[in-house]
Symmetry: C2
Subunit: 75 residues, 2 copies
């Protein structure tokens, strides 16, 4: 799927209405952000609802995908 560019130049992938996963850099370290944006006078800005994962946390999260999917099976 295609990416779009956010207000801070970040490459974003839309996971839902105004919600994106993106990679950003802070103090020379990469973060994976899963975050809701909001409309500020026509400009989309990253909001408070969300989390920024370190590279290590992102790698760890990926190891749980199968288990989470299994937990979701009952729905």
């Amino acid at each position: 799927a295609a990416s779009t560019t956010g207000p801070n130049g970040e490459k974003r992938y839309e996971v839902g209405r105004m919600r994106y996963i993106s990679v950003s850099e802070f103090k020379n370290k990469p973060y994976v952000n899963i975050r809701e944006y909001y409309d500020d006078k026509g400009v989309e800005k990253p909001g408070k609802k969300g989390i920024s994962l370190s590279l290590e946390q992102w790698q760890k999260l990926k190891t749980f995908v199968d288990q989470v999917d299994n937990d979701l099976k009952k729905y």
Copy 2:
């Protein structure tokens, strides 16, 4: 990896210090939560930092894993 049980009986997988991915149910619908917890007098409680994804948003997020990993390659 092993899961632990959170304060609301939720099955959690630890992605980092006090950060977990878990599945919860709200109004008969499942949500995938990626959230930071905090210590409230010895009891871990889910905090404000985090996001709760609908099943649809979670499924969408998974389709972007490879692209996000590719964006992380430059680090």
